[in-house]
Amino acid sequence: MQTRKLSKYLLAILGYFSMYSTCYSDIASAQWWLKNELTPSTLSYPQQLEEMQWFIDAAKPYQGLQIRVVSERIATHQYEATVLAKAFYEITGIHVVHELTGEDDVIKKLSAQIMTGQNLYDAYVNDSDLIGTHFRSGNVVALSDFIQNQGKSVTLPSLDLADFIGLQFTTAPDGKLYQLPDQQFANLYWYRHDWFSNVQFRTEFKRLYGYELGVPQNWQAYEDIAEFFSVHVRRIDGRKVYGHMDYAKTDPSLGWRMSDAWLSMAGVGDKGLPNGLPVDEWGIRVEQCKPVGASVSRGGALNGPAAVYAIDKYVDWLNRFAPTESKQLNFTQAGEWPGKGVIAQQIFWYTAFVADLSQPGLPVVNSDGTPKWRVAPSPVGKYWQSGMKSGYQDTGAWTLLNNTPIDRQKAAWLYAQFVVSKTVSLKKTLVGLTPIRRSDIDSEAMTQQAPYLGGLVEFYRSRGRDVWTPTGTNVPDYPHLANYWWRHISQIVEGKITTQHGLDAFAADVDKHLLALSQHPHPCSPKLNPEKSADYWLAQPGAPKNKITSAEKGRTLPYQEAINVWR
């Protein structure tokens, strides 16, 4: 998610900082950074200075140490790697090499460190989707314990954990905090507000579908709008336009398209936040904290009627309404399409792209810098009910491994806290648009920025931030199980197998792996349920849910009402 704007900014400040980099040290250095870069902040200048003095003192035993951390390559981490790592070094004397790579590579490296026992990195910014893996593995430092014990002397007194909006995503069923959120972004509905406001389009849509063109509240409305633009409008200003955009290349990113809570939007799982209980959006049922199966025959929902509906809609819309090329695109390639100005709406859109789609000169940005697009809470499928999660939120979070030497853990923990500290985090949020602190979200600086961010601030100020959630603790081995998603879904997309048969095979593979994991001695290790008939489970309350045969009627809301739904 490297942006031209960010690159120019980083280059400009690089030249500026390099003049000063050898002239300052400790508190003088901190003063320079506070005045020249780390503003605005929700702290007053004296409070910032106090926080920096604490870092200087706490870091003294580790001065001269070089630590290595790794994260995915998004604008927030680029800012950390280039600007904040430099600031941290000049203020504390701890040298941080902050590597940027793909999220899949971060997971491979973390797994490699666990498997080989080699201390490849001193800390990882790892998606909280792995929380179910981490707490069962015994390989990850429980931060809530660390803060009270070995890490007490290096834990920032003003860290203010209660201010973080994502702690429920990084806390395990054992009540312990395993990861500290560093950046968060949601997967929301994206649409062309200017096109939706066009009187001619609005009139024509109402004539054809019998209700107002607006922000879709359910999948039927999304489908109607997709059809309207792809089939009826077809061209705007001489250019072919599409009512839907997606991607489907056989590639691990196809897995995220599904595992990033697509089934939750359909309503596959049970009620419960941050994830459905006892059945989550991966279709995995837990009893107590033990995963007991993904197949309907074991009480799971991965191959149930709601999951079939979710996948069928994904494939159907892809075939009928998306650009022909979309089937050959991966996540990264598809991400460029909304900026071209030919896409009317996209049901599955990561807000990490907000900065990219706000670049001046793009066909989707007005001349005054405001966007022609908006984001809004995602529409939900016909199995969804109030009380369920409604979509996905990514929470990249600091993760320490037990096999990292303690002095390196402590130094890395200092850096992790520095980049999320109140001194730093508002500025970081304004650069990367991935908020983690309530105080930042509620700040005046974010209010001023809101008109340029297409609804992002409004979403994060709403209860929606608790309803769009990451993968939960039902998933006991994310790195392994994640591979099943794209391997099985690709077979369905390519038409090699029916949706039902594809999901049957998928659920069977998950159950098989749960069985293998049941050998691992842990109170929350999987323990498969005995198989029963599908009819038995479908007759029980909640997930897996019986087939809903009735059709939905499309439902939309004006933008203002749509963003107020979660207030």
Partner: protein
């Protein structure tokens, strides 16, 4: 069993005279690699280097035999995709490649650094400090592409040795190189080089044909993990002058 097969392959290479012209059969697994000193080289009639030592130990522990050929990476990857019981290494395990192979990883853990001429010093606190400079890398290393994607000025050459020469002739300001190979090249040229900044860690994997038996994949992966855990890999890397 392993030793017999490897020596047989070695004799065949010598008889053939061309590294890529021979065909070997009869081992449990046929491996492809490519020449990068000091990881895998063909010297004095036999393959040697850090990677070859890893393979010798890995296959011995797994009680499997292997034969190895030196083949350009691109050709090797196409062959391995099409033919069973074949693997290629070391390969970067990218998302695009993930679907095409089964994987055993990491067979190599390599770190990349930025080097200047011995008499020069660049104060590099973070990678972006290298932004104003011309960085040399070589085609196919992956690290040149990584830096280019981050917006750095990268000049690619066909071999990493050429970058050392370009550095000494001031045609590039910094040389982006893997630590062990950079040390090897510098020593061969009678100089000592230390990286200004070690900025990236890469995992090299063994990519195997999709139809290779799962049991073999799992056995090799388990034994590879053990080689790290019991200190074999640490000692081996140390003998090449680098700690993992």
């Amino acid at each position: 069993m392993f030793g017999v097969n490897r020596h047989w392959a070695t004799r065949l290479i010598a008889a053939c005279g061309l590294l890529s012209c021979f065909a070997v059969h009869g081992a449990d697994i046929e491996l492809y690699t490519y020449e990068v000193a000091p990881f895998a080289v063909y010297e004095n009639g036999k393959p040697s280097g850090l990677l070859i030592e890893v393979l010798d130990e890995l296959f011995k522990r797994s009680d499997l035999s292997y034969q190895i050929q030196f083949v350009p990476l691109k050709r090797a990857m196409i062959t391995v995709q099409r033919q069973a019981h074949k693997c290629v290494l070391p390969v970067a395990r990218s998302q695009e490649r993930e679907v095409q192979f089964q994987w055993i990883s990491p067979v190599l853990i390599t770190r990349f650094g930025l080097y200047s001429k011995p008499e020069q010093s660049f104060p590099l606190t973070t990678l972006i400090d290298a932004k104003p400079y011309r960085i040399g890398s070589f085609l196919g290393s992956g690290i040149g592409e990584y830096l280019a994607n981050l917006g750095f000025t990268v000049e690619l050459s066909s071999t990493t040795q050429q970058n050392f020469a370009k550095l000494n002739r001031d045609r590039i300001d910094l040389w982006a190189a893997e630590l062990i190979s950079a040390k090897h090249i510098a020593q061969a040229n009678g100089v000592s080089l230390e990286p200004q900044l070690v900025f990236y860690t890469a995992l090299g994997a063994m990519a195997c044909n999709q139809n290779m038996p799962q049991a073999q994949i799992q056995l090799l992966q388990t034994q590879l993990n053990m080689m790290y855990q019991d200190g074999f890999m640490g000692r081996l890397y140390h003998s090449y002058g680098v700690d993992i």
